[in-house]
Symmetry: C2
Subunit: 225 residues, 2 copies
DNA sequence: CAGTGGATATCGTGT
DNA sequence: ACACGATGTCCACTG
């Protein structure tokens, strides 16, 4: 990663044509070949940029300037930087990043639903989250008001896969005499029609989760179908 | 603008929950208060970030680490950076950026239409682009197949303003005996109904420009109303 | 209505 | 079905 602070002007010719007048800016050149030009505002969004794959050609310009031409390898788009003065220039080896782990909506929904398990219905009690089975953990195992065991599968977007997964869990759980009978609840922020049809056909209830509501603002906005 | 290269781990708690394991990264702190954490790839997109308005609190952590807590002033979202080692740290005054000037679609459309002026009709010939008048340049001045002068106003989105502008040009141009009579053509990627009505009422033809078609893929896809 | 800024969402693509 | 990357677009907000 190379960090350059320089007085530069920039011209972009590609999907549109754009120009940046001469001013001091950050030029961020990453190991993936990308180049982005940042001002001291606009949060993380650069003023202009070039995505990989691209190549940088550096050559002298007029009046002692230096011209960096960044060319996109496929589209031919160009970013032309005219450098008047370099105020800082440093390079750093960062290596490959382990990357972002999103505990994301699914995990968060699970946590919230476990905490507010009665949103599934009155008298519901949590048995445990991530209830282990031979084919993987069930997101939530709980009991309804009648004491019947309920297995809950949580997804951000409920699709057929999720229904199939829950079906497998239910089949397995229903072999356990201490749990049997086990009902299924398919919970997601958004449930695709096909998934809903399949779930209903298998006697699995569908619950649409309202994330904000679950976060505790208003618990009542959860709708049960 | 402060540039920090540091071994850090990051936890984000907000709209979702995310974690970044300890690794060397760029921490970009802008004058607007924003903080973004970049790996050496993914083009201009940071691994994680916090938008303004936010505040940064720096305090010692365990084992000699330093913990930077970035808190969003309104939502309370937090970005927690645990810094193990600082490899680079520099600050730079950039001042306010003059900002991006998008010559954008309009200039590009003008260029393309000038190049393919016959897309307005058979026998059309270009007089010149940016034809100067006392009240500003006319985007394109050309002649149709009959030798009649035609003034073209080009916009990305055709609104009433553009029609008014073209009307003023036409009024002026029609005073010139060497050009008179001058017809008007209002060309845009998208023309608002009101603008179209006004233009038609004034005897100005409307042309919807197909950007991709003009770019030379298929010249025929331009539609004349 | 025009101009600006922000998107951890959503979409599309590829596997 | 899923993961990843890109949005140079789109929308919502402001004045």
């Amino acid at each position: 990663m190379r960090l350059v602070i320089a007085r530069c002007s920039v011209d972009y010719v590609g999907r549109l044509t754009a120009h940046l007048p001469m001013a001091p800016r950050l030029i961020l050149m990453k190991a993936d070949g990308s180049v982005s030009i940042h001002a001291d505002d606009r949060a993380y969004k650069p003023l202009n940029w070039m995505n990989p794959p691209c190549t940088v050609r550096e050559k002298p310009g007029e009046d002692g300037t230096s011209v960096w031409t960044v060319t996109h390898s496929k589209s031919g788009e160009q970013l032309i930087l005219t450098i008047e003065e370099i105020l800082h220039d440093s390079s750093h080896e960062l290596g490959v990043d382990p990357g972002l782990r999103k505990d994301g909506v699914e995990a968060h929904l699970q946590e919230l639903l476990a905490k507010h398990i009665t949103t599934l219905g009155e008298g519901y009690t949590l048995i445990r989250r991530e209830y282990p089975t031979a084919i993987g953990p069930v997101d939530i195992l709980c009991r309804d008001g009648n004491g019947t065991t309920v297995a809950v599968e949580i997804k951000r977007r409920g699709e057929i896969d999720g229904v199939e997964q829950l079906t497998r869990y239910l089949e397995l759980l229903n072999r356990d005499p201490t749990l049997r009978p086990v009902r299924g609840v398919f919970a997601a922020q958004e449930i695709r029609p096909q998934a809903r049809v399949l779930a209903t056909d298998r006697g699995i209830a569908c619950v649409t989760l309202d994330y904000d509501a679950l976060r505790g603002i208003k618990k009542d906005e959860m709708t049960l179908f």
